[in-house]
């Protein structure tokens, strides 16, 4: 069964949230999801750019009280 893990990268600046996502991506199984919490506005657009470039799947990007919730599914 697919699992979902939350990565709290709030307070770090670019490319910190992206690097945290990639570090954790190596540790999960295909089909699992990671939710990155970020206060860095640039990462809210950079992370989807990276996800599309390398072939994973964007699930959602939402902003709530200055915190972006970026959910990514490992596709390969």
């Amino acid at each position: 069964m697919a699992e979902k893990k939350v990565i709290d990268a709030r307070g770090t600046f670019c490319p910190g949230p992206l690097m945290e996502l990639i570090s954790n991506m190596k540790l999960i199984n295909v089909g699992d999801e990671l939710e990155v919490l970020s206060t860095d506005k640039g990462s809210a657009s950079d992370v989807p750019e990276w996800v599309n470039k390398v072939g994973h799947q964007m699930v959602s990007t939402t902003e709530e009280n200055g915190v972006w919730h970026i959910v990514v599914r490992k596709a390969k």
């Binding site: 307070g11 490319p15 690097m19 570090s23 990276w50």
Partner: protein
């Protein structure tokens, strides 16, 4: 030109330029780029083990950045290697000038390289200098 081949020459001692070089290296490497970094001059000093030198700010941005939770440039270079397979080459000339051996440098660096080989390998790549 291969868009995925990225060659980065880093000679600066300024924290702003080191930070940007590390960002290009790490993001380029984890995005599938074939990244090679050549460290020389002042930049190499920060990769000598046990040398706790602080890179100096050349402007206001660098001073502001020091108070923020920005990923340290050395961590980003290390991640470029670990996560993206980047190669970081210490300049053999700079090592000679500093009387430094390979064992004195951070272990994630590759074997020393001469400028001639780096330039030869950089043919056809994006080239960035900092």
């Amino acid at each position: 030109m291969s868009a995925s081949k990225i060659s980065i020459m880093v000679v600066t001692g300024s924290v702003e330029r080191l930070q940007m070089a590390a960002m290009v290296a790490s993001v380029g490497a984890v995005s599938g780029g074939d990244v090679s970094v050549f460290l020389s001059m002042n930049a190499l000093l920060f990769f000598i083990k046990g040398r706790n030198a602080t890179a100096t700010a050349e402007g206001e941005f660098g001073r502001v950045m020091a108070g923020k939770n920005v990923p340290p440039f050395k961590d980003l270079f290390h991640r470029a290697v670990d996560l993206g397979g980047a190669k970081i080459y210490p300049c053999s000339m700079a090592m000679d000038v500093l009387s430094t051996n390979r064992e004195d440098l951070e272990p994630y660096l590759s074997e020393p390289l001469g400028l001639t080989k780096f330039l030869s390998d950089a043919v056809g790549s994006q080239v960035w200098t900092f």
